[in-house]
Amino acid sequence: MAVHRLSRWALLLLAVSALSTFPPLSAQNTPTPAIPRTTDGKPDFNGTYQWPTYLPGDERGRSNATIFDRKRFAPFKPGGEPFYEPRTGDPRHDEPRDFCMPAGFPASILSGNAMQFFQTKTHLVMVHEFQRNTRIIPLDGRPHREGLEPMFDGDPVGKWDGDTLVIDTTNFKRWALDDHHYTNPNEFRMHSDALHTIERLRWKSPTAISYTITIDDPKIFTAPWSQEFEIIAKPEWEKDGLFEYVCQENNRCPGGKCGGEK
């Protein structure tokens, strides 16, 4: 009898424990996405993708490139470096990319072209069709390199935070933040040389990556700010692969000077 009573108590405790430990039935029924994984169990980002695209409701620019939504921006720092920079009439200042200068990160990854990622245990290589921009991101725990001049794409290092890949990038050259100047031809949005970006990549479904960029630019903004985008897998693009992109090949009208007939 005592044993029987004990069993009933044990069953009750087990039931209470189960109710407090497990999520509600509705959540249990939500399937965990079967995300791609490498042989060592890490999320597998190898593949071909569309460039990062907007989430519903976010501001869209007037080119095929994605731009940041102004409602995400943190307040400007009083007396800080200017974020908006007007065109001056000097074509080399006004649109350096028209002279085949690089887009620079993060504008580079937001450009409207295909991307291909190659992942090993020690590196993620992100190749963007636009300008064949290549970012080589160490995943082996090394610190940022020191003593280098500021760069268009900065100096990235990556690490895993569970199933999220976190890419921390520093040491940028002052450059256009995004392609806002396609939408408003009167001005650029510039980041400073103090820019520090943090990207977070996480599979949100078997075919889509959540991609969040944090912009930490203390010379311009009072606080870091972030925007989430979505990177869609495009396995159907893998047959053709990335196309060649040599900007200098036939850049006929740099600065609007086409030089007459050809």
């Binding site: 636009f130 939408t183 009167n186 040599v246 850049n251 006929r252």
Partner: protein, 138 residues
Amino acid sequence: MKRVVFTILVILALSGGAGRLLAHHSFAAEFDDKQPLKLTGTLTKVEWTNPHIWYYIDVKNPDGSITTWGLSGGAPGQLMRRGVKKDQLVVGSVVNVEGFRAKDGSHNGFGSKVTYADGRNVFTATPLDRQSTPAPAK
């Protein structure tokens, strides 16, 4: 069958944002949206090259002379992913081109749409890229 495939390709090219192709530079860097172009001429050459395709048409002037116009479009990779291929621009064909003139006033421009005499269109880029909208508020 060929016609059906062509139609599908054009529909594909027009869908998914209908262009917005310029990626290498903004429209304002090279072209003048206050100088729209409508040209009819014979397609003489196609350069399927980066950073933008260029194609050339010979336009007959009222005095009988010929002016060659160079017209820029999207990047080859972007166009190909939209189903627009180089062989859709057939050298020797008479085409109508809509676009905008280069800022330097030369016989060059941004050709967004090529239309053949039978009405077929090849969307080589789009005027949506031009930036004639007022500056948005900050």
